[in-house]
């Protein structure tokens, strides 16, 4: 009886919690932060150690800041999340990817850059943080096509 009740209750909780959890999962404070430091603080990231195990593949020069391709990977064992920060963007936090056991800590995506800036990628593994930094220069062009 008790077990059934508990199971029902659990199901109910899941039903209610699920859509809300999906919405709440977007970290408003972190994404609304105006500096990289504040954004990382909101994500609970303090000191991140520079690491060669975190890699950022990005062009050194992007002709168009509206589309800057980046490819990020972590070879730190047990990486569970990758966080992307672009220091000079008005809202520096770009993305947080959480990986479950069947996913490799790898993402390729196009991002917007307002100006030349450092791109930082932080890997989370076993409660510790590791960081890689890479500068991408943004230029403009002529009249196009």
């Amino acid at each position: 009886m008790n077990r059934i009740r508990r199971a029902l209750l659990a199901a109910l909780v899941i039903c209610i919690a699920r859509p809300r959890a999906a919405l709440a999962a977007w970290n408003k404070d972190a994404f609304g932060a105006k500096t990289a430091g504040d954004a990382l603080k909101s994500l609970g990231i303090g000191n991140a150690a520079p690491s060669k195990e975190v890699t950022i593949d990005a062009p050194e020069i992007a002709e168009n800041g509206a589309v800057v391709p980046i490819e990020i990977t972590s070879n730190v064992p047990g990486t569970t999340a990758l966080i992307v920060v672009i220091d000079n963007n008005p809202f520096p936090l770009i993305a947080r990817f959480d990986f479950k056991e069947n996913a490799l800590p790898f993402v390729k995506v196009n991002v917007k850059m307002g100006e030349t800036s450092d791109v930082r990628v932080i890997a989370e593994a076993g409660g510790k943080h590791y960081v890689a930094t890479r500068e991408v220069k943004v230029t403009i062009g002529g009249c196009g096509g």
Partner: protein, 263 residues
């Protein structure tokens, strides 16, 4: 924006670094090509190709792009060419317009009402171009060159390329006439010379990064004439087709690798 600081830094460095810059920009373009949303347009185009429309309520699937009704594989690489049923040379967009009017029973006015779209609302013609052009990837550009009307069209295209007109006396060659020139930072290919026409023509139509829209060769002709300060060319006119035809013939033999990506 700090492009100025960047460019200053670039200007101060030597030739070796200028070469690195070119290499890096090349790498940027390569990465862009790998992660381009161009497939979204191909996908939307496929739906449009198969969607019944117009008074006849039929799809474009029976449209003959030169290789027989409904044959898409390699069709784009063989355009522009002469079509007997229309008795004229047509490029892809002109031919699509023809199919919209003949097969779907739409008026030309309706079918050509909105041929250039925006990022928010791509034009039918743009998505269809993406879908159809993609099915010529890996094939050699082989536009029609033997029919008298094809020869006529190529010659007209060549003459148009050098025709000075408009409020600013420009011809196509005013900007695209000499090697190694650029407008602002944009390189200007000399499109009557094969070595320059080949890579350019082989990547049109294309996704345009700066506007997030899809652009076609008819759009390119239109917007060049706008900047040349002439009146507006009619969509699918002999003039626009002849220019596209001339440049495609100049690029003949190149392997088609579009739809591409433009800045």
């Amino acid at each position: 924006m700090k492009p100025i600081a960047l460019l200053a830094a670039l200007a101060l460095t030597g030739a070796a670094q200028a070469q690195d810059t070119a290499k890096e920009i090349q790498r940027y373009r390569q990465m862009i090509a790998e992660g381009s949303p161009v497939e979204l347009f191909e996908f939307a185009g496929e739906e449009l190709w198969k969607r019944p429309q117009g008074p006849s309520n039929v799809s474009l699937e029976k449209c003959d792009l030169g290789r027989g009704p409904g044959v898409l594989k390699g069709a784009y690489a063989r355009l522009p060419r002469y079509f007997k049923d229309a008795d004229r040379v047509m490029d892809l967009e002109t031919r699509l317009l023809h199919c919209m009017t003949t097969l779907q029973g739409r008026s030309e006015k309706d079918a050509a009402a909105r041929v250039f779209g925006t990022a928010d609302r791509p034009a039918e013609m743009e998505s269809l171009s993406a879908y159809i052009a993609a099915q010529s990837r890996g094939m050699k550009l082989d536009p029609g060159v033997s029919h008298p009307k094809e020869k006529q069209s190529i010659e007209l295209g060549r003459a148009l390329y050098f025709q000075r007109a408009g409020a600013w006396d420009f011809s196509c060659a005013s900007c695209h006439g000499e090697e190694g020139k650029r407008i602002r930072m944009q390189d200007l290919p000399v499109l009557y010379k094969p070595q320059f026409a080949r890579p350019v023509i082989a990547s049109w139509p294309a996704y345009r990064l700066s506007t997030s829209g899809f652009i076609t060769l008819q759009w390119r002709m239109n917007d060049c004439y706008r900047q040349m300060r002439t009146p507006e060319p009619n969509f699918g006119s002999d003039t626009t087709v002849a220019l596209i035809h001339f440049m495609t013939v100049t690029a003949r033999g190149e392997t088609y690798r579009g739809p591409g990506n433009k800045r």
